[in-house]
Symmetry: C2
Subunit: 166 residues, 2 copies
Protein backbone atom coordinates (compact mmCIF):
# COMPACT_ATOMS: atom_id res chain seq x y z
CA UNK A 1 0.00 0.00 0.00
CA UNK A 2 1.18 3.46 -0.78
CA UNK A 3 2.02 5.47 2.32
CA UNK A 4 1.33 8.70 0.53
CA UNK A 5 -2.34 8.45 -0.09
CA UNK A 6 -3.82 10.90 -2.50
CA UNK A 7 -5.76 13.81 -1.16
CA UNK A 8 -8.72 12.59 -3.15
CA UNK A 9 -8.86 9.20 -1.50
CA UNK A 10 -8.50 10.80 1.91
CA UNK A 11 -11.32 13.15 1.12
CA UNK A 12 -13.41 10.25 -0.13
CA UNK A 13 -12.81 8.40 3.12
CA UNK A 14 -13.71 11.54 5.02
CA UNK A 15 -17.03 11.78 3.19
CA UNK A 16 -17.74 8.07 3.52
CA UNK A 17 -17.23 8.27 7.26
CA UNK A 18 -19.57 11.20 7.76
CA UNK A 19 -22.12 9.71 5.40
CA UNK A 20 -22.18 6.59 7.56
CA UNK A 21 -22.46 8.69 10.69
CA UNK A 22 -25.34 10.63 9.18
CA UNK A 23 -27.24 7.50 8.18
CA UNK A 24 -26.78 5.95 11.60
CA UNK A 25 -27.94 9.13 13.27
CA UNK A 26 -31.03 9.23 11.11
CA UNK A 27 -31.86 5.57 11.76
CA UNK A 28 -31.53 5.86 15.52
CA UNK A 29 -33.40 9.13 15.56
CA UNK A 30 -36.27 7.64 13.57
CA UNK A 31 -36.48 4.69 15.94
CA UNK A 32 -36.59 6.91 19.00
CA UNK A 33 -39.14 9.18 17.41
CA UNK A 34 -41.43 6.27 16.60
CA UNK A 35 -41.43 5.27 20.27
CA UNK A 36 -42.15 8.64 21.80
CA UNK A 37 -45.76 9.57 22.58
CA UNK A 38 -47.51 12.01 20.28
CA UNK A 39 -46.51 15.63 20.71
CA UNK A 40 -43.14 14.86 22.27
CA UNK A 41 -40.25 15.29 19.87
CA UNK A 42 -36.75 13.90 20.02
CA UNK A 43 -35.59 17.38 20.97
CA UNK A 44 -38.00 17.41 23.90
CA UNK A 45 -36.87 14.00 25.03
CA UNK A 46 -33.18 14.84 24.73
CA UNK A 47 -33.48 17.96 26.83
CA UNK A 48 -35.53 16.20 29.49
CA UNK A 49 -32.98 13.42 29.59
CA UNK A 50 -30.16 15.91 29.91
CA UNK A 51 -31.89 17.68 32.79
CA UNK A 52 -32.24 14.42 34.68
CA UNK A 53 -28.92 12.82 33.84
CA UNK A 54 -26.61 15.81 33.86
CA UNK A 55 -28.30 18.48 35.94
CA UNK A 56 -31.08 21.00 35.87
CA UNK A 57 -30.99 24.67 36.86
CA UNK A 58 -28.95 25.56 33.76
CA UNK A 59 -29.75 28.48 31.48
CA UNK A 60 -31.35 28.04 28.05
CA UNK A 61 -28.16 29.25 26.40
CA UNK A 62 -26.08 26.66 28.21
CA UNK A 63 -28.50 23.99 27.05
CA UNK A 64 -28.40 25.29 23.49
CA UNK A 65 -24.62 24.98 23.52
CA UNK A 66 -24.73 21.52 25.02
CA UNK A 67 -26.99 20.36 22.22
CA UNK A 68 -25.28 22.28 19.43
CA UNK A 69 -28.43 24.10 18.39
CA UNK A 70 -29.14 27.83 17.98
CA UNK A 71 -30.55 29.45 21.07
CA UNK A 72 -33.86 30.28 19.44
CA UNK A 73 -34.37 26.61 18.67
CA UNK A 74 -33.81 25.88 22.33
CA UNK A 75 -36.33 28.57 23.25
CA UNK A 76 -38.87 26.76 21.13
CA UNK A 77 -38.14 23.34 22.60
CA UNK A 78 -38.24 24.66 26.15
CA UNK A 79 -41.55 26.44 25.69
CA UNK A 80 -43.03 23.18 24.46
CA UNK A 81 -41.80 21.37 27.54
CA UNK A 82 -43.03 24.17 29.78
CA UNK A 83 -46.46 24.13 28.14
CA UNK A 84 -46.67 20.43 29.01
CA UNK A 85 -45.62 21.13 32.59
CA UNK A 86 -42.52 18.96 32.27
CA UNK A 87 -40.15 21.78 33.14
CA UNK A 88 -40.39 25.12 34.94
CA UNK A 89 -38.44 28.24 34.08
CA UNK A 90 -37.60 31.04 36.49
CA UNK A 91 -35.66 34.25 36.13
CA UNK A 92 -32.04 33.66 37.04
CA UNK A 93 -31.43 35.02 40.55
CA UNK A 94 -28.04 36.47 39.59
CA UNK A 95 -28.90 37.83 36.14
CA UNK A 96 -32.23 39.31 35.17
CA UNK A 97 -31.65 38.63 31.47
CA UNK A 98 -31.26 34.95 31.99
CA UNK A 99 -33.40 32.06 33.20
CA UNK A 100 -32.96 28.81 35.00
CA UNK A 101 -34.54 25.62 33.71
CA UNK A 102 -35.81 23.17 36.30
CA UNK A 103 -37.41 19.82 35.68
CA UNK A 104 -40.72 19.22 37.44
CA UNK A 105 -41.89 16.03 39.12
CA UNK A 106 -44.08 15.37 36.09
CA UNK A 107 -40.97 15.79 33.97
CA UNK A 108 -39.05 13.28 36.05
CA UNK A 109 -41.91 10.82 35.90
CA UNK A 110 -42.14 11.23 32.15
CA UNK A 111 -38.43 10.72 31.65
CA UNK A 112 -38.43 7.63 33.83
CA UNK A 113 -41.29 6.17 31.80
CA UNK A 114 -39.70 7.14 28.50
CA UNK A 115 -36.53 5.19 29.24
CA UNK A 116 -38.71 2.08 29.32
CA UNK A 117 -40.16 2.80 25.89
CA UNK A 118 -36.90 1.77 24.25
CA UNK A 119 -36.25 -1.17 26.55
CA UNK A 120 -37.54 -3.71 24.05
CA UNK A 121 -35.55 -2.22 21.21
CA UNK A 122 -32.37 -2.16 23.22
CA UNK A 123 -32.93 -5.72 24.38
CA UNK A 124 -33.48 -6.84 20.80
CA UNK A 125 -30.50 -4.99 19.36
CA UNK A 126 -27.83 -5.44 22.00
CA UNK A 127 -27.38 -9.16 21.30
CA UNK A 128 -26.77 -8.35 17.65
CA UNK A 129 -24.02 -5.89 18.50
CA UNK A 130 -20.52 -6.35 19.84
CA UNK A 131 -20.61 -4.55 23.17
CA UNK A 132 -16.87 -4.26 23.42
CA UNK A 133 -16.67 -2.83 19.92
CA UNK A 134 -19.45 -0.42 20.77
CA UNK A 135 -17.41 0.84 23.68
CA UNK A 136 -14.32 1.36 21.55
CA UNK A 137 -16.34 3.07 18.87
CA UNK A 138 -17.92 5.43 21.36
CA UNK A 139 -14.50 6.45 22.62
CA UNK A 140 -13.13 6.89 19.11
CA UNK A 141 -16.13 8.90 17.97
CA UNK A 142 -15.75 11.10 21.03
CA UNK A 143 -12.20 11.84 19.94
CA UNK A 144 -13.30 12.82 16.46
CA UNK A 145 -16.06 14.90 17.91
CA UNK A 146 -13.46 16.78 19.91
CA UNK A 147 -11.38 17.42 16.80
CA UNK A 148 -14.37 18.80 14.94
CA UNK A 149 -15.50 20.79 17.92
CA UNK A 150 -12.13 22.42 18.49
CA UNK A 151 -11.94 23.13 14.80
CA UNK A 152 -15.14 25.14 14.89
CA UNK A 153 -13.34 28.00 16.57
CA UNK A 154 -10.87 28.00 13.69
CA UNK A 155 -13.20 27.42 10.72
CA UNK A 156 -12.87 30.62 8.76
CA UNK A 157 -15.75 32.84 7.85
CA UNK A 158 -18.24 30.96 9.92
CA UNK A 159 -19.74 34.22 11.15
CA UNK A 160 -21.97 33.02 13.97
CA UNK A 161 -20.17 33.32 17.30
CA UNK A 162 -23.22 31.79 18.98
CA UNK A 163 -23.73 28.10 19.66
CA UNK A 164 -20.42 26.94 20.96
CA UNK A 165 -19.85 23.65 22.70
CA UNK A 166 -18.97 23.63 26.39
Amino acid sequence: MSEDKSVESEAALFFAFFTEVGILAQLSRALLESRLPDGVSVAHYSVLNHLVRVCDGQTPLTLARAFQVPKNSMTHTLSGLEARGLIAMHVHPDDGRSKQVWITQDGRDFQAAAVGLLKEDVARLIPKLDTEQLEELTTALGGIRKVLDDDRSVAQSHAGPETKTP
Copy 2:
Protein backbone atom coordinates in the same frame (compact mmCIF):
# COMPACT_ATOMS: atom_id res chain seq x y z
CA MET B 1 -14.04 -7.41 34.06
CA SER B 2 -17.36 -9.10 34.61
CA GLU B 3 -18.51 -11.09 31.61
CA ASP B 4 -22.12 -10.68 32.59
CA LYS B 5 -22.64 -6.99 32.26
CA SER B 6 -25.87 -5.62 33.59
CA VAL B 7 -28.59 -4.74 31.14
CA GLU B 8 -28.49 -1.20 32.47
CA SER B 9 -24.85 -0.65 31.66
CA GLU B 10 -25.33 -2.14 28.21
CA ALA B 11 -28.27 0.16 27.60
CA ALA B 12 -26.22 3.10 28.86
CA LEU B 13 -23.45 2.23 26.42
CA PHE B 14 -26.03 1.91 23.68
CA PHE B 15 -27.33 5.41 24.39
CA ALA B 16 -23.86 6.86 24.75
CA PHE B 17 -22.90 5.50 21.35
CA PHE B 18 -25.90 6.91 19.56
CA THR B 19 -25.59 10.20 21.39
CA GLU B 20 -22.06 10.49 20.06
CA VAL B 21 -23.20 9.55 16.57
CA GLY B 22 -25.94 12.17 16.74
CA ILE B 23 -23.58 14.93 17.83
CA LEU B 24 -21.07 14.07 15.11
CA ALA B 25 -23.81 14.05 12.50
CA GLN B 26 -25.01 17.44 13.62
CA LEU B 27 -21.51 18.92 13.63
CA SER B 28 -20.66 17.69 10.14
CA ARG B 29 -24.04 18.68 8.82
CA ALA B 30 -23.70 22.19 10.23
CA LEU B 31 -20.26 22.55 8.66
CA LEU B 32 -21.50 21.45 5.26
CA GLU B 33 -24.53 23.70 5.50
CA SER B 34 -22.37 26.71 6.29
CA ARG B 35 -20.36 26.12 3.11
CA LEU B 36 -23.24 25.70 0.71
CA PRO B 37 -24.47 28.72 -1.23
CA ASP B 38 -27.72 30.34 -0.18
CA GLY B 39 -30.84 28.47 -1.14
CA VAL B 40 -29.13 25.10 -1.47
CA SER B 41 -29.76 22.82 1.47
CA VAL B 42 -27.84 19.78 2.62
CA ALA B 43 -30.69 17.68 1.23
CA HIS B 44 -30.26 19.30 -2.18
CA TYR B 45 -26.54 18.74 -2.09
CA SER B 46 -26.83 15.13 -1.00
CA VAL B 47 -29.21 14.24 -3.79
CA LEU B 48 -27.12 15.99 -6.39
CA ASN B 49 -24.05 14.19 -5.14
CA HIS B 50 -25.86 10.87 -5.27
CA LEU B 51 -26.97 11.46 -8.84
CA VAL B 52 -23.40 12.09 -9.91
CA ARG B 53 -21.60 9.51 -7.84
CA VAL B 54 -24.07 6.64 -7.93
CA CYS B 55 -26.24 7.20 -10.97
CA ASP B 56 -29.10 9.25 -12.28
CA GLY B 57 -32.25 8.12 -14.04
CA GLN B 58 -33.63 6.67 -10.81
CA THR B 59 -37.17 7.27 -9.60
CA PRO B 60 -38.02 9.66 -6.75
CA LEU B 61 -39.14 6.72 -4.60
CA THR B 62 -35.84 4.93 -5.07
CA LEU B 63 -34.04 8.08 -4.05
CA ALA B 64 -36.28 8.50 -1.02
CA ARG B 65 -35.40 4.98 0.10
CA ALA B 66 -31.71 5.53 -0.51
CA PHE B 67 -31.80 8.57 1.75
CA GLN B 68 -34.14 7.13 4.33
CA VAL B 69 -36.64 9.93 3.99
CA PRO B 70 -40.39 9.86 3.29
CA LYS B 71 -41.26 10.12 -0.37
CA ASN B 72 -43.03 13.45 0.03
CA SER B 73 -39.86 14.93 1.48
CA MET B 74 -38.03 13.76 -1.60
CA THR B 75 -40.69 15.35 -3.77
CA HIS B 76 -39.99 18.65 -2.07
CA THR B 77 -36.24 18.38 -2.42
CA LEU B 78 -36.47 17.38 -6.07
CA SER B 79 -38.82 20.22 -6.96
CA GLY B 80 -36.31 22.62 -5.44
CA LEU B 81 -33.53 21.17 -7.58
CA GLU B 82 -35.74 21.22 -10.64
CA ALA B 83 -36.71 24.85 -10.06
CA ARG B 84 -33.00 25.68 -10.04
CA GLY B 85 -32.49 23.75 -13.24
CA LEU B 86 -30.03 21.37 -11.60
CA ILE B 87 -32.06 18.28 -12.42
CA ALA B 88 -34.73 17.36 -14.96
CA MET B 89 -37.62 14.99 -14.38
CA HIS B 90 -39.43 13.03 -17.06
CA VAL B 91 -42.25 10.51 -16.93
CA HIS B 92 -40.86 7.00 -16.66
CA PRO B 93 -41.04 5.34 -20.08
CA ASP B 94 -42.11 2.00 -18.57
CA ASP B 95 -44.52 3.26 -15.93
CA GLY B 96 -46.76 6.27 -16.27
CA ARG B 97 -47.05 6.68 -12.48
CA SER B 98 -43.37 7.07 -12.04
CA LYS B 99 -40.66 9.50 -13.03
CA GLN B 100 -37.00 9.46 -13.84
CA VAL B 101 -34.62 11.96 -12.31
CA TRP B 102 -31.77 13.16 -14.49
CA ILE B 103 -29.04 15.57 -13.56
CA THR B 104 -28.49 18.46 -15.97
CA GLN B 105 -25.18 19.93 -17.09
CA ASP B 106 -25.82 22.84 -14.72
CA GLY B 107 -26.31 20.26 -11.99
CA ARG B 108 -23.03 18.56 -12.82
CA ASP B 109 -21.22 21.87 -12.86
CA PHE B 110 -22.72 22.82 -9.54
CA GLN B 111 -21.78 19.51 -7.94
CA ALA B 112 -18.24 19.75 -9.23
CA ALA B 113 -17.90 23.22 -7.77
CA ALA B 114 -19.51 22.22 -4.48
CA VAL B 115 -16.96 19.50 -3.83
CA GLY B 116 -14.36 22.25 -3.79
CA LEU B 117 -16.26 24.21 -1.17
CA LEU B 118 -15.22 21.73 1.48
CA LYS B 119 -11.69 21.26 0.20
CA GLU B 120 -10.20 23.64 2.75
CA ASP B 121 -12.09 22.06 5.60
CA VAL B 122 -11.06 18.57 4.59
CA ALA B 123 -7.45 19.66 4.18
CA ARG B 124 -7.49 21.26 7.61
CA LEU B 125 -9.17 18.34 9.37
CA ILE B 126 -7.54 15.31 7.76
CA PRO B 127 -4.14 15.91 9.39
CA LYS B 128 -5.84 15.99 12.78
CA LEU B 129 -7.47 12.63 12.19
CA ASP B 130 -6.08 9.13 12.03
CA THR B 131 -6.85 8.03 8.49
CA GLU B 132 -6.44 4.37 9.25
CA GLN B 133 -8.75 4.63 12.23
CA LEU B 134 -11.24 6.51 10.12
CA GLU B 135 -11.27 3.64 7.69
CA GLU B 136 -11.84 1.07 10.42
CA LEU B 137 -14.55 3.19 11.95
CA THR B 138 -16.34 3.56 8.66
CA THR B 139 -16.40 -0.19 8.22
CA ALA B 140 -17.56 -0.79 11.78
CA LEU B 141 -20.28 1.84 11.52
CA GLY B 142 -21.44 0.27 8.29
CA GLY B 143 -21.86 -3.02 10.13
CA ILE B 144 -23.93 -1.41 12.84
CA ARG B 145 -25.96 0.37 10.21
CA LYS B 146 -26.75 -2.98 8.66
CA VAL B 147 -27.90 -4.37 12.00
CA LEU B 148 -30.21 -1.43 12.57
CA ASP B 149 -31.42 -1.50 9.04
CA ASP B 150 -32.27 -5.20 9.06
CA ASP B 151 -33.94 -4.67 12.40
CA ARG B 152 -36.35 -2.14 10.96
CA SER B 153 -38.31 -4.91 9.27
CA VAL B 154 -38.69 -6.55 12.66
CA ALA B 155 -39.34 -3.56 14.87
CA GLN B 156 -42.92 -4.12 15.97
CA SER B 157 -45.70 -1.63 15.52
CA HIS B 158 -43.70 0.65 13.30
CA ALA B 159 -46.69 1.07 11.00
CA GLY B 160 -45.13 2.83 8.00
CA PRO B 161 -44.29 0.30 5.27
CA GLU B 162 -42.89 3.13 3.19
CA THR B 163 -39.28 4.30 3.25
CA LYS B 164 -37.28 1.15 3.31
CA THR B 165 -33.59 0.93 2.65
CA PRO B 166 -32.41 -0.67 -0.58
